[in-house]
Structure formats: C-alpha cells, structure tokens
C-alpha cells in the first residue's frame, strides 16, 4: 500500500545535487525521564532525529510514546533530561531556570504538532484556522498568511473547503486541515501524535497519504503511530518504546524483518495476526 519509491527518489536526487540529508540534529533528546504520580512513563530516553529524517515511534498503549512526543514541545514537562530543537534547548534557559513563557512559546513554534483529536478551533473557518497562528504569533501580514495558507490547503487537498467551519468536516478532513495549520508555522520538525487513531478506517488512508507526501518533500517528522505498513514505508528510523524505555531503534527493514528483541518480535507477530 505504501511504497517508498517517491521519497527515496527525492532523497537520492537531493544527494546527487549536493543538498544531501544533513547530519545536523533537528531534535536531540538526552536522558529524558518523566513520571506521573510515581509511575515512571519515560526512563532515561535518548533519541536523535536528524534534519530531513522521518522517525516513527511504535509501542503498545501506555508505553510512553505520546508522552515522549508531548515532551518535545513541552506540553509535558520532563522531570529530568534535556531536549534541543535545532540546537536550542526547550523549557529551560541558559541559566538553568524554567523558560519565560514568551521564550517558551517561541521555541514551541519551531515545532508543528498534529493531535489525535485534531483540536481545530471551531469558531474559525478552515482558512482562518490555518492563518490564525502565523498572523497572531509570527506577526505575518494577513495577505501573506492567506496566500501561504491556500498553498498548504491545496497541498493537503482541502482548498475547496477553505470557507467551511470545522464542525462540518469529516475526521479525515479535519486532520488534513490540522496538518496544514501546523505546516503554516514553517516548523523545523513536525510532530504527529497518533494522527489516524481517531479516524474511521476508511478515512485513515487520506491522512497517511498526506503525511507520506510530506516525508517525500524532506520534512523532518516524528510520528507516533500504530500503522505498521505506513511506518515501514515512510520511516528512516523506527523506534520502539516499552514501559518508558527505548528497547529498539533501527532502520525499517531491520526493524520489521529482523528485530533484535523478543519483545518487538512478539509485538509484530500480534500486529500481523
């Protein structure tokens, strides 16, 4: 269903023209730990995501994968460890103190987040959902923001619905708008938190197709998902979390055909059946 051809072709072209995938870290996570009410959800997690990479995070529910993603833009505050986005540490300033809210907001805006439950703003139409943050956070002009928003809506196949209100859209359409809304901030890294888990099965494909297109365009993305075929097709790296620990990270071929841990083998068997 998901073929890797497009993205591979794009990447090899980039390599050929010298715009090779960089070795710079888009996101770098060190020794991250987090507990909720004494339960350790993340335990000393290290993860490096290079610019242009697509990393999918797999694991059963409760494994901490959503928490890991939500720590990256500080929606959850980790207890220990550090997270850098494009070299800038989030949540803690140089003096080691909690970041002032304005500075935190600025660093957050370097990431784009897509939620499981879409979280569109229902009082704004589709176009204004996409232009809201660029105008009022980035300070773009209305004309510029709208022109960019229309391009992005075109990209996610939602330009015909620019004037519609979120309440009138299907789940798949809402999620595609939410993706455009996040892209409008021109983030350095896109975070997807189970983007298709709240969708009817027949709507999953349209959203995955959009994310897959983005991966082909070279966006840096971290995707928490349960879609194995999708993960295998788009990932540069697959990360498996179990009880708050990363127990396996590998390229998709190795991960899906020859995992090194028994736990992952069991997980994949169950998914196949």
């Amino acid at each position: 269903m998901f073929e890797k051809n497009t993205s591979e072709r794009v990447r090899s072209e980039q390599t050929a023209t010298g715009a090779a995938r960089s070795e710079r870290a888009a996101v770098s996570i060190r020794h991250l730990s987090k507990s909720f009410d004494g339960v350790e959800v993340l335990r000393d997690v290290d993860l490096e995501v290079r610019e242009g990479d697509v990393v999918t995070i797999l694991g059963s529910s409760g494994s901490g994968k959503s928490t890991l993603l939500r720590c990256i833009n500080w929606l959850e505050q980790p207890d220990r460890g550090s997270i850098h986005i494009g070299g800038q540490r989030i949540g803690v300033n140089d003096a080691g103190r909690p970041m002032p809210v304005r500075e935190l907001a600025r660093v957050r805006a370097r990431t784009g987040m897509v939620f499981q439950s879409f979280n569109l703003w229902p009082h704004l139409n589709v176009l204004h959902n996409v232009t809201e943050a660029p105008i009022h956070v980035l300070g773009k002009s209305k004309a510029e923001a709208e022109a960019h928003a229309r391009e992005l809506l075109e990209k996610v196949g939602m330009s015909a619905k620019a004037d519609a209100y979120p309440g009138t859209l299907s789940g798949g359409q809402k999620q595609r708008v939410a993706i455009a809304r996040a892209l409008a901030m021109q983030p350095e890294v896109m975070l997807f938190d189970e983007p298709t888990s709240a969708l009817d099965p027949e709507l999953v494909g349209e959203v995955l197709a959009v994310i897959k297109d983005l991966s082909a365009e070279g966006y840096t993305m971290i995707v928490v998902t349960h879609e194995m075929a999708f993960s295998r097709a788009v990932s540069d790296k697959v990360v498996f979390l179990d009880k708050g620990l990363i127990i396996e990270q590998a390229d998709p071929e190795t991960f899906f055909t020859n995992p090194s841990t028994e736990r992952v083998r069991k997980f994949l068997e169950r998914e196949e059946s």
Binding site: F115, H123, A182, M185
Partner: protein, 221 residues
C-alpha cells in the same frame, strides 16, 4: 381629561425617563460584560492568591440583593469619603453586580472548554493573553449566548431599583406622574410596556446572534 390623556400630555417625562434608563442600561451592561471577561481572564491563572479571593468576591456579589449594593454605594461610600452621585452609583452598582454574574456564567462554560484546543494553541506558540482573547473568549461568548440574553433582561429590570436612590429613570418618571395625578395603574402599565418592548427587542437580537454561532456549530437555533 381621562387618565390616559393626562399621561399622553406628560409623554415627555416618559421619554426622558426611558432614554435615561437606556443610557444607564447600555453603559452598565457594557461595563459588566467587560468586567466579566476580565474576571474570567484573571481566573485563567493558577495562582490561588488571586483566584480564591476573586471567586469569593464573585459569589459574595451574586448572593447580595442588588438593592443593598446600590444603597451601599450611594449611602455607604461617603462614610469613607468617596462620593458618587446617584447616577454613577447606580451605573457602578449594576456594572459590578452583573459583571459578577457574567463572570460566573463564563466560568461555567470555561470549565467544559476542550483542553485539546488550549494545547493546540500552546503548540502553535500562543501565549496566554492572545490565546484567551482570540481562541477561548469568542467561543465562550458564543456558547453562553442564551444565558447572556437572560442576564441582559435581569440587568434591564434591575435598573428600576435605582429609583430608590433617586436616579431619574423610567420607573421614577412613572412614580412621579402617578404621585402628581394619582393615576398609579395607568402610569405603571405604560412603563411595563417600555420594559417589555426593550426586552423583546433584545431577545430578537440575541436570537439573531445565535445564527452566527450556529453556523460554527455552537448552537441549534
């Protein structure tokens, strides 16, 4: 001359009372709305040093008979050397009193506001103020529209209390005419007509506003 003819000849007094009532109502309800929004914003924070006294103040106001608040402002404040004339005492009392009601209505809606939308706003780099005024408040207002309409009518009726602290508004006009010519029934029937007419117009306007929110999926008008 019949009683009605007497009232007709004194219609200027009704009109000036009516305009005075509308002026008081318009000004105080706008201020009350602003106060309600401001209080909701202050309640957004998680600092109990601020939110606890504010909640106590809001509840204290709501549990106070409006007339007593008007008395306090008009007769009580001079004791601490603050002198407001009757008109400003009335407007101030209405604004604060109904501001607290607005705040409580908004607070109730805020409790059920989807947290995911707030997270989305944070994730898109919004800070508290902009998030509140652009994303939270507009939705809260749309969602509470029917309750706000109700509160407008309460506030309009409360303006009639101000006759007691000598404000020359609509009820005061009827009062003085009925005293002068001893025609209480007819004079008060006329002012009932005024209050009803204004309330009906407000109901229609508030209902029309419902179309705006219904289009956004907030209402079933």
């Amino acid at each position: 001359m019949s009683n009605w003819e007497i009232l007709w000849s004194a219609r200027d007094q009704f009109w000036s009372g009516f305009f005075s009532t509308m002026e008081i109502f318009g000004l105080s309800i706008s201020a009350a709305f602003a106060i309600g929004c401001g209080m909701l914003y202050l309640l957004e924070g998680s600092r109990p040093r601020l939110t606890v006294p504010l909640r106590v103040f809001i509840d204290g106001m709501r549990m106070l008979p409006f007339l007593i608040l008007a008395y306090l402002l008009y007769y009580g404040l001079p004791a601490i050397d603050i002198r407001l004339d009757a008109w400003w005492s009335g407007v101030g009392a209405l604004a604060v009193y109904h501001g607290c009601y607005f705040a409580e209505i908004f607070r109730g809606a805020r409790l059920t506001f989807p947290p995911g939308q707030v997270e989305a706003a944070k994730a898109h780099g919004f800070t508290k103020g902009k998030m509140f005024f652009r994303l939270i408040l507009p939705q809260i207002v749309m969602q509470t529209r029917p309750l706000l309409g109700n509160q407008l009518i309460y506030a309009l009726k409360d303006t009639a209390f101000l006759v007691i602290i000598t404000v020359r508004e609509l009820t005061a006009a009827a009062n003085s005419l009925s005293g002068t010519y001893f025609i209480p029934t007819e004079a008060f029937i006329v002012v009932i007509g005024f209050y009803w007419a204004v309330s009906v117009v407000m109901e229609i306007i508030v209902k029309q506003c419902g179309r705006f929110s219904a289009k956004r999926g907030f209402d079933n008008v």
